[in-house]
Symmetry: C2
Subunit: 213 residues, 2 copies
Amino acid sequence: MQFNRRGVMLVIASPSGAGKSSITRRLLAEDDNLTMSVSVTTRPMRDGEVDGKDYHFVSLDRYDAMRNEGKLLEWAKVHGNFYGTPAAQVDELIAAGRDVVFDIDYQGTQQLYAKRGSDMVSVFLLPPSIPELQARLRARALDSEETISQRLQNARIEIEHWGEYDYVLVNDDLDETCNAVARILATGRLTRSRQTNLSVFIKGLQAQIDSLQ
Amino acid sequence: MQFNRRGVMLVIASPSGAGKSSITRRLLAEDDNLTMSVSVTTRPMRDGEVDGKDYHFVSLDRYDAMRNEGKLLEWAKVHGNFYGTPAAQVDELIAAGRDVVFDIDYQGTQQLYAKRGSDMVSVFLLPPSIPELQARLRARALDSEETISQRLQNARIEIEHWGEYDYVLVNDDLDETCNAVARILATGRLTRSRQTNLSVFIKGLQAQIDSLQ
């Protein structure tokens, strides 16, 4: 029996190269009820990007207004540009029982937790080893050696926050990790606190017992 | 990658007839890592029962000693007999990464939660309706109408405690409910807090990054 439920805010975090994007992409492809949270950003749109799909591209004024009015669940400044998660869209999806996956770092996770902790399920992915992570970053050939070195130093900071996540998985097999995250999401959907009309159903059962007397 | 982990204390509770025994039996048959918690009891052994398997049958003196020495995780008096869960055996299994399933009511669940809450995952099963529950109790033909009536009144009390469980499932399809409970257990095993040597692995990753410099 299915009850109306609140959606899950699924945070998947990892050091760069540990598999977050691949896993998120696959989950989104395999799960119709899951959608990606679309951030706002002040950085210019790049070729091939679609406004409202990759990001909501906004002016700095608009961004400042959203942040000052408390309309962002979390925000960050990266390389001089601002990013943030608009609350309205996420809250609407969650209330409608849709699950939303977030691509945010540990600082974003902390902010989201402070505002919507009870809706969250958080997963932190680790590489099996640092040489393996380095190899993956090189294999995808997106970054210079200097950037890769910087990413590994960032990984160290990110990894220090492993204790703030509900689940910590070592991604040494993409299929296995995907299955584990899918199971975590499936179980997260079942938690009592998300079943919004369970209390109505319970009252019904109790009334049925009382009517027997 | 698998880490050493603490086991899960899986509590499955339900009003009598809502499917707890069938589901527990099937989980135990399908999952080699799961064992049933064996209670102590002061009631006499019945035909066909095996000491140490169905119960640890103990004298009232022995039972009193265990309870007074804090060696029981939870205890109850039912129909003039005492029952209880010995801590030592369960704690050993959990420390060794074995999962233990408990057949206890809401009062036992409360006691266990007070003592071992961080090791617990609790599931409460509901019948789809009271007429359905009544029909199941009649179909198994174990009880008189009077006993069934008493069981339904007990069900009312038990059901009032639905809010104390992590998961509340309506058992309208045995296969589906079994799968859900198996998934809940599988996910419970993955929680960060149960991975006992994750911190060692993390320190290793950090050392690998530091050695790059």
